[in-house]
């Protein structure tokens, strides 16, 4: 419980160093190799006449930073869900939170009204969609006590939202449909340099909200009744956890598409490495671990790019699905 526990800080620092290494490797990769000096200049000392620096600043830096932010955000969201529902298989994707976002993004990109056309509009739509799905799952969790049943409800909700999206697709304008399809594969390329600020700001907001929830999260491990007897207002906390998850999942979904499995896999890995239940450390670990996973995925995509072009979602599922099966065999 002691937040100054050195062992965990050392682990986090180690992971952070690893992450920095991966980020630098990832920045050199792409359609052509870029040296370390050009990377440094491209970020801090930008000269638009140098092709290498231009590439770094316009394409690679946003891509890699998006990977870091998206991975961190989704993993923290997954950790919050797992603790709230006391279920190691919970995550924003399995519980249909992503699907809620997708549905509202589909409505906003494919409807002919195009009310939500701007960045701000899509982000807002995605967060509202995530919040709606989150509150729905929360509502169901009051009635469904069985852990597996709740996951099934989430999966059904995902299918239902997916069906609605299909209906929308059937009537959509072909250009809008193409935009939406590309978005739904999941991509780190969609974020431009000047949009990074928005993404970073919203994710920081969600992360700060999560850090504030550390104490209730720790106590929720004993169950909601015990937590309430230790002075936690469970109803408010449940809503705040769903809100934080929705902000984190929503903004990532808006910019990068629905990315599966990261939120489920990373917190489980981090719990195994850290061997603690203190969410202060688990949050920091998930943030870094999630970033590492997506950066690794991106490195793989860049290395494979000359031979085969993989969508991000295919890669995360390739890594994620076996891990999920492993957890099911171990814990259920």
């Amino acid at each position: 419980m002691n937040i100054l526990n050195k062992k965990y800080w050392k682990l986090s620092l180690l992971l952070l160093a690893l992450l920095l290494g991966l980020i630098i490797i990832d920045l050199t990769l792409g359609s052509f190799h870029v040296g370390f000096l050009d990377i440094f200049n491209g970020i801090f000392n930008y000269d638009s006449t140098s092709t290498a620096e231009l590439t770094v600043r316009v394409f690679r830096f946003p891509r890699v930073i998006t990977a870091v932010l998206a991975g961190g955000a989704l993993s923290v969201a997954g950790l919050l869900m797992q603790t709230l529902f006391q279920n190691p298989l919970a995550g924003p994707y399995v519980l249909g939170i992503n699907s809620g976002s997708s549905l509202l993004v589909a409505i906003s990109t494919m409807s002919s009204f195009y009310i939500f056309g701007s960045d701000f509009g899509i982000v807002t739509a995605a967060i509202i969609g995530a919040l709606g799905a989150g509150l729905f799952i929360l509502f169901c969790s009051v009635f469904v006590k069985n852990k597996v049943s709740l996951l099934l409800v989430g999966i059904m909700f995902g299918s239902f939202a997916g069906a609605l999206v299909s209906v929308l697709q059937a009537y959509a304008d072909p250009n809008n449909l193409k935009t939406f399809m590309l978005w739904s594969f999941g991509s780190l390329q969609g974020v431009e340099f000047n949009q990074l600020g928005v993404l970073a700001f919203v994710i920081t907001l969600g992360a700060v909200l999560s850090i504030v929830l550390v104490k209730p999260l720790n106590l929720l491990l004993l169950g909601e009744k015990s937590a309430s007897l230790l002075g936690i207002n469970v109803k408010t906390i449940r809503f705040l956890i769903i809100l934080a998850t929705s902000i984190l999942t929503g903004v990532v979904t808006a910019f990068c598409g629905p990315i599966a499995f990261v939120g489920l896999v990373v917190p489980n890995m981090i719990k195994m490495i850290y061997k603690t239940t203190n969410h202060y450390h688990l949050l920091v670990g998930s943030l870094i671990g999630g970033a590492m996973l997506i950066v690794v995925c991106d490195i793989a995509m860049q290395l494979l790019a000359p031979f085969v072009s993989l969508p991000l979602n295919a890669l995360t599922a390739l890594i994620g699905a076996p891990v999920v099966m492993w957890i099911i065999m171990k814990k259920f």
């Binding site: 419980m1 002691n2 937040i3 100054l4 850090i211 504030v212 550390v214 104490k215 720790n218 106590l219 491990l221 004993l222 169950g223 009744k225 015990s226 309430s228 007897l229 230790l230 002075g231 936690i232 207002n233 719990k271 850290y274 061997k275 603690t276 239940t277 203190n278 202060y280």
Partner: protein, 242 residues
Amino acid sequence: MLKFEELHIGFAQKKHSEQRILFEVDSMSFKPGDFVAVIGPNGSGKTTLFNSILGHQEILSGAINIDGENWSNLNRIEKSKYLSFVPSKFDGVDHLSVFDLVAMGRAPYTNLLNKLTKDDQLVVQKVIDQLGLSKFADKNTLNLSDGERQIAMIGKALAQDAKIMILDEPTAFLDYINRRKVLQLLKEIAQLNDQIVFISSHDLDLCFEYCNRIIAIDTNSKKLLQFIEPFHKNDVIQTIFE
């Protein structure tokens, strides 16, 4: 000092069911150091009584007073400093150590980030020593025996430093040796720490041996009755269970 006044315990009226009073309590009070066993047949309302005190369930009428304050006027944090609870079974949580579990009892006193102060750490360490948990302090709560885990949970409640401790059937899942061990421990806690300790139990003989007060739910007259030492086993059984 804990006082029940004209208390009606049961289930409030809901959409599909009428109000159902399980039993009433005229007036009853408990002083620090009391080790109280709540007994009664299955379904008589032992858990309902605890739930009503813990605030999971409404009191139909009447009042609970603690140190002259009306219980329902206290806020959640204040209540958590008066009242600690141990459920009958805790399955353990992976990677949660015994130390961290006991430290959870300090939650009502810690800041937003749950940082333990020096004082908090001293309290936790004292509890661990008092309960003989030092050997297990770093052990995963998932890997303890039922008896060790139950004592660790009592440690959490002790660290909470509350005036009243409520345990729902603390011995239900324990073997004979551990039952005696836990009850002896609770008796000492009540006396040494000047706490009021409530347990519910079906182990009448052990209750008679360790507790200094027995309150029993009489399903015939729908009243909460009390017995004070020396207990006459046959009297109690005849009144309550026949």
